[in-house]
Symmetry: C2
């Protein structure tokens, strides 16, 4: 078996931690890249890895390329059919692109089409966890694509995850991720309303959170975000802007299907409001800044 050489494209918080984790686990890391070059250079120095100036060089240097970019637009750009891209320069043949960004299902399908045209494979690996889990290799991964591509990526994915599963063909993982985040965002906005009303009533919020945890009001976001909402500790693990984006992806899928989802819409509107207030880079727990009377600006 030929040893795979790994590259990471998109060295934001998630991508950088994925690169660190793979280095720690002994993988051959051959390149890192970011459209914001200083971020990639800092990581390249930290890890002793090449920082190519062009995306085409990344495909020349690596056999498995993990992409962790921001959105559909960025995804479209790195897999562009013209100019510099991961598919340019004739280096992409035989490469496996493991796409970890939360982008729309349709974008994954389009990228697969372009990659196959030059003899490359793609796999979706959607991450339903956050920064610390990336660093510690305890992500929850949902993968979509050919089973053979999933098996090729398995050693790398196992180093990154506490749990992973193949959920179907290309685009399925993105659909599921959009669903997960849509529900998570609704539960988050709901919790913020509950705690905001509790504060308005003069109830002790620690007591309220404890009661919530014992009852039908309990949720994962109560555990992850409840205390942060109370303490206004909105250090960012998953930003309000990302929440708005992911709810938007899910709502677009709903609209295509002819489904009206009132809570998902109300949630998207709340996160949009947070972004419009210039607070989109707060953690999603920051949505509580909109539901506490005492925090009205």
């Amino acid at each position: 078996m030929i040893e795979e050489k790994i590259a990471v494209v998109g060295t934001g918080r998630m991508g950088a931690n994925i690169a660190r984790r793979l280095k720690d686990k002994g993988f051959v890391l051959s390149a890192v890249y970011d459209a914001h070059r200083p971020a990639a250079e800092a990581l390249g120095v930290e890890l002793g890895v090449a920082v190519p100036e062009r995306l085409a060089e990344v495909s020349a240097l690596a056999s498995i390329i993990l992409t962790v970019v921001t959105d559909d637009r960025a995804m479209d750009a790195i897999f562009s059919s013209s100019g510099d891209s991961l598919l340019a320069g004739g280096h992409a043949g035989g490469r496996l692109f493991v796409n970890c960004a939360t982008v729309s299902p349709g974008m994954h399908v389009e990228v697969e089409r372009r990659a196959r045209a030059v003899g490359a494979e793609v796999l979706e690996a959607c991450m339903a966890s956050s920064i610390p889990q990336a660093r510690e290799g305890t992500l929850y991964l949902m993968c979509g694509g050919a089973v053979s591509s999933f098996e090729r990526a398995r050693p790398v994915l196992e180093a990154l995850s506490a749990s992973m599963r193949h959920v179907g063909g290309t685009g399925r993982a993105a659909q599921l991720k959009a669903l997960v985040n849509m529900v998570m965002n609704m539960n988050t906005a709901a919790l913020a309303e509950g705690l905001g009303l509790a504060e308005a009533l003069g109830l002790d919020l620690a007591m309220v959170r404890e009661v919530f945890s014992q009852t039908g009001a309990n949720s994962r976001v109560l555990q992850t975000d409840g205390e942060d909402m109370q303490n206004r500790d909105h250090a960012c693990f998953f930003s309000g802007a990302h929440a708005a984006k992911d709810s938007g992806i899910a709502l677009a899928l709903a609209e295509e299907a002819g489904l009206v989802l009132p809570l998902a819409q109300a949630t998207k509107a709340q996160f949009d409001r947070l972004v419009a207030a210039g607070k989109g880079e707060l953690d999603k727990s920051g949505i509580a800044e909109l539901t506490f009377l005492s925090r009205r600006s």
Copy 2:
């Protein structure tokens, strides 16, 4: 210590199970009563307990009276200042009324005022659990009122609950219960939207529920209602109509406080829609009947 004689007013599913549980645990059950007399008579025969025709007689026969009625209107009626009521006939002095119904905080305060005027005590004992927990004595109870009344009721409450706590003065428990149910209802309506969209996308719902359970989309209602939503098993533990009512209580508190809660409003509107469709007596999981394309009538 004089042995307390217990009565239960309101013998619907919750009240009847509370009476059965107290009988099982060896309490002296001296009367049961329901405005719908046949329900009370059936329970009276089952438990070998008196079934007075008038509320005033209930107060004559018992020292601790648990009330488990439907809503503010029923609560107002059983504690009426005129006509037949628990406070009429001069029997209420020294009685402790333990009020378990989910009614508005203001109603609890008003009932306390009327009861004190005739020398009786009241305690709120709001139940954040459902029918099976009542039968098994594993309710989660939130109590509001004087600490002395809480202590007097303690042996009875301990027989009914797995966990209980005193959360403040009269009205506080109702506030907290309204908050718990408001958040539970939002999470329920959110889950129904997630599963409805999953079905529209052709995803396997059992797989989706399993992924939800491993991620930020997890919640108590996913555990209690997720499979029921998938299987359309809406046998009633907590009805859609009750959900609409409780969300309404919480929204009224929010409005008084000057708080706008968009998700709580959207949730109330969904449960109102369920009721308007003649499906208010389905379990709250029935909200999924509104979010699955295949279930559109």
